[in-house]
C-alpha cells in the first residue's frame, strides 16, 4: 500500500513538472500559432539559472531555507528572456510552419550554446533547497517533503493559469487574439502586448518547471531536449493549445511512465509514443484540441 501511495505521489510530482512545461508550450501555440522548438531550452535555462543562484547564495552564507525564494526568481529570469525574444520571433508568425520550426530550432541551438558558454559542460546542483525540507515517512518508506511542494506548485499553477485565461480581462484579450488576431487588432486591441505577455507567461511556466525540478536532479546540457520531447507527447495526447489537454496529457504521461518504470522499464518510452500515435490516428487534434 505504501508503495502504491509513493508511486501515485511520484506520478503527480512528475505530472506537475510536465504540466508546467506543456501548458507553457500550449499557451504560446494557442496565441501565436507557433510550435516553439526552443521551449524545452527555456525549461533548461530555468534549471541552470536557479541552480547557479542557489550555489551563489549558499556560498555567500544565505540559509538554505531562504533559497526557496530563488525558484520564482529563476522562472522570472526566463520570463524576461521571453520578453526579449518574442519580438524577434514575431515576423515569423505569419510564415509557413517549416520556417517557424527552423527558426525556433535555431533558437534552441543558440540557447544550448549560451548555457554551455555560461555554465560549462558540468552539471549544476541545487540540493540545499531540497535538503532544507524534511524526509517524510509513508508507511515503512521514506519520501522527500520537497516533492509534495512541487505537486502543490503544479496545482496552484494550473488554478492560477485557469483564472488568468478564463476570468481576467487579459484572458478575454488572450482568447480573442488566439481566435482572430486581425479582428482583435481591428478592435484596437494591443495585440503586441498580448503576444509578449503570453510568451512571457509560457516562458515563466517552462522556467518554473526547470527551477522547481533542479533541486531534485542536476541541471545538465540536453535536459531541455528531453523535456521538449515529453512535452510534445503531452500536447499530442491532450491537444496543442488546450489548457485542459496539457493537464490531462501530463497526468496520462506521468502515470503511464511511472507504471512503465515499475512494470515494463525496457519499453516505457515506447508505450508513451504508442499512446501518442494512437491518439493522433483516432483524434488528430488530441483529446481536448479543437483545430
Amino acid at each position: 500500500m505504501s508503495i502504491l501511495i509513493i508511486q501515485i505521489l511520484n506520478s503527480l510530482f512528475y505530472a506537475s513538472v510536465l504540466f508546467l512545461i506543456a501548458a507553457g508550450l500550449s499557451l504560446i501555440f494557442g496565441v501565436m500559432r507557433i510550435v516553439n522548438m526552443a521551449h524545452g531550452s527555456f525549461y533548461a535555462v530555468g534549471a541552470f539559472v536557479t541552480a547557479w543562484l542557489v550555489g551563489r547564495a549558499i556560498a555567500l552564507g544565505v540559509p538554505a531555507g531562504w533559497t526557496f525564494l530563488l525558484i520564482p526568481v529563476g522562472a522570472a529570469v526566463v520570463a524576461l528572456l521571453g520578453i526579449v525574444i518574442e519580438p524577434l520571433l514575431r515576423p515569423f508568425y505569419r510564415r509557413a510552419e517549416e520556417y517557424q520550426l527552423l527558426v525556433t530550432f535555431g533558437l534552441l541551438l543558440i540557447l544550448e550554446d549560451v548555457m554551455h558558454l555560461l555554465w560549462g559542460g558540468l552539471p549544476l546542483s541545487a540540493d540545499p533547497v531540497m535538503d532544507a525540507l524534511p524526509i517524510m515517512r509513508i508507511g515503512g518508506l521514506v519520501y522527500p517533503a520537497y516533492n509534495l511542494v512541487v505537486i502543490g506548485v503544479g496545482v496552484v499553477a494550473a488554478l492560477l493559469l485557469w483564472a488568468v485565461i478564463y476570468r481576467t480581462k487579459f484572458g478575454v484579450m488572450l482568447r480573442a487574439t488566439s481566435q482572430d488576431r486581425r479582428m482583435a487588432s481591428a478592435l484596437g486591441l494591443n495585440v503586441g502586448l498580448v503576444y509578449v505577455s503570453a510568451f512571457a507567461i509560457g516562458c515563466f511556466m517552462a522556467g518554473l518547471g526547470g527551477a522547481i525540478i533542479v533541486p531534485t536532479q542536476t541541471a545538465v546540457l540536453g535536459m531541455g531536449i528531453d523535456a521538449l520531447i515529453l512535452a510534445f507527447v503531452v500536447v499530442v495526447i491532450g491537444g496543442l493549445g488546450s489548457l485542459q489537454g496539457a493537464l490531462v496529457g501530463a497526468l496520462i504521461v506521468s502515470f503511464v511512465r511511472t507504471a512503465g518504470i515499475q512494470f515494463f522499464p525496457e519499453i516505457e518510452l515506447a508505450v508513451l509514443y504508442l499512446i501518442a500515435a494512437v491518439v493522433l490516428l483516432v483524434k488528430p487534434t488530441g483529446l481536448f484540441g479543437t483545430a
Binding site: R167, T168, K169, G171, R175, A176, R182, A186, G188, N190
Partner: protein, 251 residues
C-alpha cells in the same frame, strides 16, 4: 459642422483606381449612406479612413486633426470605429465578453488587464447597457458562435459601438439576412446611433434601406464620387438610376 474630411484621397491597386482623388466630408450628427455598385471603391474608402489601408496620396482630417498615417488604435481612440462586411466575432467568447473586449481595448490600461473581468462593475454595467440597446441582453451568456445571423450582425455593430466612436462606419450591416430582419436591424442600429448622437456612415446595396434611413446619400462609381445629396435629390438623379440599373451614364 464637418467631422471628417478627406482631401484628394487616392488608392490604386495595379491599374484599378479604388479611390481617385476623393474629397469626402461627413458632417457631425448625420446618418449618411455610401452607395455604388460592387468595386465602386466604397469599402476601400472606409478601409483608408479606418486605417486598414494606407493611401497612395491625399489626407484624412478628423475633427481638424490629420490622421492620415495614424495607426488603427489611434484612430479608434480619436473616435473612428467600424464594423465589417463579413461578420468577425469572437465565437469562442460569450456575447458579453465580446462587448467587454471592446471596452477593454478602448481603455488600453495595461495595469488593469490582470483584473478579474466579471468583477469590474463599470465594464459589466456598460456592456449590459450596450447589449440592451441592441436587444441582445438575454443572450449575454451565450457563446457568440451560437447566435443567429441577424443577431451576429447586431453584435458586430455593438462591438464597434462599444468603442464609443464619434464616427461609426457600418459595412453592409444587413447583408445576408432576410428582408424582415433587415428592417429590425436597421431600426435598432438607427435608433441606437441617433440616441447616442453618433455620426454614422453605412455602406449599403439595398436602396429601400438607404432611402428610408439616410439623411444624406453619396454615390461612388469607379473610385470617384458621382452624386451627393438628400434622398430626394438622389432619387431624382438620372446618373444614379442609370448606374443602379446598369445603364450608361448621361452626359
Amino acid at each position: 459642422m464637418i467631422l471628417l474630411q478627406t482631401i484628394d484621397l487616392s488608392k490604386q491597386f495595379g491599374d484599378v483606381h479604388a479611390c481617385d482623388r476623393v474629397n469626402f466630408t461627413v458632417n457631425k450628427g448625420e446618418f449618411l449612406s455610401l452607395v455604388g455598385s460592387n468595386g465602386a471603391g466604397k469599402t476601400s474608402l472606409v478601409n483608408l479612413i479606418s486605417g486598414h489601408l494606407a493611401p497612395d496620396s491625399g489626407r484624412i482630417l478628423f475633427e481638424g486633426t490629420d490622421v492620415t498615417f495614424a495607426r488603427i488604435h489611434e484612430r479608434i481612440r480619436a473616435g473612428i470605429a467600424r464594423s465589417f462586411q463579413i461578420v468577425n466575432l469572437f465565437d469562442v467568447l460569450t456575447v458579453f465578453d465580446n462587448v467587454a473586449l471592446s471596452i477593454f481595448s478602448r481603455e488600453r490600461k495595461i495595469v488593469k488587464i490582470a483584473a478579474l473581468a466579471d468583477l469590474d462593475r463599470d465594464v459589466r454595467r456598460e456592456a449590459l447597457d450596450v447589449l440592451s440597446q441592441f436587444g441582445l441582453a438575454a443572450k449575454s451568456a451565450v457563446p457568440a458562435g451560437g447566435l443567429a445571423q441577424g443577431e451576429r450582425k447586431l453584435l458586430d455593430v455593438a462591438l464597434a459601438y462599444a468603442l464609443r466612436p464619434k464616427l461609426l462606419f457600418l459595412d453592409e450591416p444587413t447583408s445576408g439576412v432576410s428582408t424582415r430582419e433587415k428592417t429590425q436591424i436597421m431600426d435598432t442600429v438607427s435608433s441606437v446611433v441617433r440616441a447616442g448622437a453618433v455620426t454614422a456612415v453605412i455602406i449599403e446595396h439595398d436602396m429601400d434601406v438607404v432611402f428610408r434611413y439616410s439623411d444624406r446619400i453619396v454615390m461612388m462609381h469607379e473610385g470617384k464620387f458621382l452624386a451627393d445629396g438628400t434622398p430626394q435629390e438622389i432619387r431624382a438623379n438620372k446618373n444614379v438610376a442609370n448606374i443602379l440599373l446598369g445603364a450608361p451614364l448621361s452626359a
